[in-house]
């Protein structure tokens, strides 16, 4: 039996395996370190960071929906400086790639964060231009190709790290957004962030989320995510990290076949803290069954 090689190389960004965890679903790794050996995860995208500390939105911040959940955390985080001082050293112990997910209200803020983080040991930046849970910035950047291009280009100029741009699915044409990010200088694209959704309590007649609407994630969104990954990978020449509702290895393989070079697991961590390891083993099993020796052999191999 030939040895299976799980390493992936996303245009210079090398991971020991293609299974990463999605921003906002894994904190700064501490909590899940009790459940999973973080050394076994391809990369960890940390909770979305902002320049200054943010307290996030009022609660309730979560609604369960049919095979999905809506969150409106609103980027609660201790700020980039705190992250660098108190969380990065912790994460750096582990042999995994660290992706800093950054969020700004203005292009300047994004650039400032990129500059600051470029001087640290993080391995990559993930430009989140798609968070639906904040008033200014966030999703506003993500739905307009010109803005996507502009913010990507500006950050690119201030960024000495591998630059991932994370796309919002709440758009009419995800292809043009992906192209804009590529043209702006992104090294990689990640998608999808959450769809905007709302849930209403019919007894109180109020939205369940204090904020009204929030970001839908989980299995419910998987068909949309797979479609968007397929569309984007057809039109860009940079690697893509696919995510949205991945619960098991079979879901992950759908994303690889659609064209993703790596995948990211979000909501599923909440249900099974060890899910990344199950997915990893499942992918290996699939590769063995199909006779693949490395992941690249079936990335984008959709027969269509």
């Amino acid at each position: 039996m030939t040895k299976i090689d799980m390493c992936v190389d996303l245009n210079g960004f090398k991971m020991k395996n293609p299974v990463t965890v999605a921003s906002g679903t894994f904190g700064f790794g501490r909590e899940y370190a009790e459940y999973v050996d973080l050394n076994q995860i391809g990369a960890i995208s940390v909770k979305g960071l902002t320049l200054e500390e943010r307290q996030g939105n009022p609660t309730p911040r979560v609604v369960e929906t049919p095979m999905g959940m809506i969150n409106s955390v609103g980027l609660q985080n201790p700020g980039v400086e705190y992250f660098i001082k108190h969380e990065l050293p912790y994460l750096s112990q582990f042999d995994t790639k660290i992706i800093a997910n950054i969020n700004g209200n203005t292009i300047e803020e994004y650039c400032k964060m990129a500059e600051i983080l470029s001087k640290t040991s993080v391995d990559a930046l993930e430009l989140n231009i798609s968070c639906p849970n904040v008033k200014s910035g966030g999703v506003a950047f993500g739905i307009n190709p010109d803005m996507v291009y502009k913010v990507t280009k500006s950050v690119r100029e201030n960024c000495g790290k591998y630059l991932i741009v994370k796309l919002s699915p709440n758009v009419s044409d995800i292809k043009e957004i992906g192209i804009a990010a590529e043209n702006g200088g992104a090294d990689c694209i990640s998608l999808i962030n959450t769809l905007i959704g709302m849930g209403i309590d019919i007894e109180t007649q109020k939205p369940i989320l204090a904020r009204g609407s929030g970001g839908l994630s989980g299995p419910a969104v998987k068909p949309v995510a797979v479609r968007m990954v397929y569309e984007v990978t057809k039109v860009v020449n940079i690697p893509v990290i696919g995510m949205g509702g991945i619960m098991d290895y079979a879901d992950a393989v759908e994303f690889f076949l659609a064209g993703a070079d790596a995948i990211s697991v979000g909501t599923a961590n909440f249900i099974n803290p060890k899910v990344t390891m199950d997915i990893l083993k499942g992918i290996e099993g699939y590769m063995e069954r199909k006779g693949y020796t490395c992941v690249k052999e079936f990335v984008g191999k959709l027969d269509f």
């Binding site: 909590e31 009790e34 307290q55 959940m69 955390v73």
Partner: protein
Amino acid sequence: MKDRLFCKVLENIEIASNIYKIEIEKVEMLQNIKAGQFLNIKCDDALLLRRPISISYVETDRIGLVIRKSGKGTVVLCNKRKGEMLDVLGPLGNGFTIDEKEQRVIVIGGGIGTAPLLELVKRLEGKDVTVLLGYKTEPYLVNEFEEYVRDVKVATEDGSFGHKGYVTELFIEAIKENSAEMVYACGPEIMLKEVQRICSKYEVKSQISIEERMACGVGACLVCTCKVKAEEKGVKYVRTCKDGPVFSGEEVIFHD
């Protein structure tokens, strides 16, 4: 490393209308449980998120849960039959702190909030404990509390059992009679707010267990944030699942 645990349901009985006592196997990894901790339970394949349920009591071979049928998930849980397996994460949360030095304590529970107090009361053995239990109409777990504490008082809103009115009325009486060194409380927010007010008025320390909607249950997702008073900045955002669900009564800032 920690993991999900699969525990067999050993017993499930309806102890009051819509209230179920479910005993599950205490598998090996379910160790060092503190009173006030909870489990995050996967109900079935059709419901994505886990449901937080307090550990009500712990025995050598089993763990007792007391669950109120309220929505989709708890309906599924309350229908679990003996022999079925439950997929649980836990024990989670901080649990109640018991201080050797505090001798006179009052324990107040409202409705399903009485559940986690049972294990607490077991562990308060040797202290001078008053237990106050409040219900809408039908009491439950009262006998179980009486196994450990002589002084158990019950209030029901409609007067069908014990004191007619709110349990916080009993609390005021109790505290006036013989002030306490620590108050432990769990129940609906409205009750906890009142407990907070009374404790502050009578200058008694308290530990209250609060509820917030959760996803991960382990502290990673930040959906369960609770506002508490903080030294420096006035307020601080903490995680109900990891930093709580038990907080010092003085510090919690309730929604208004």
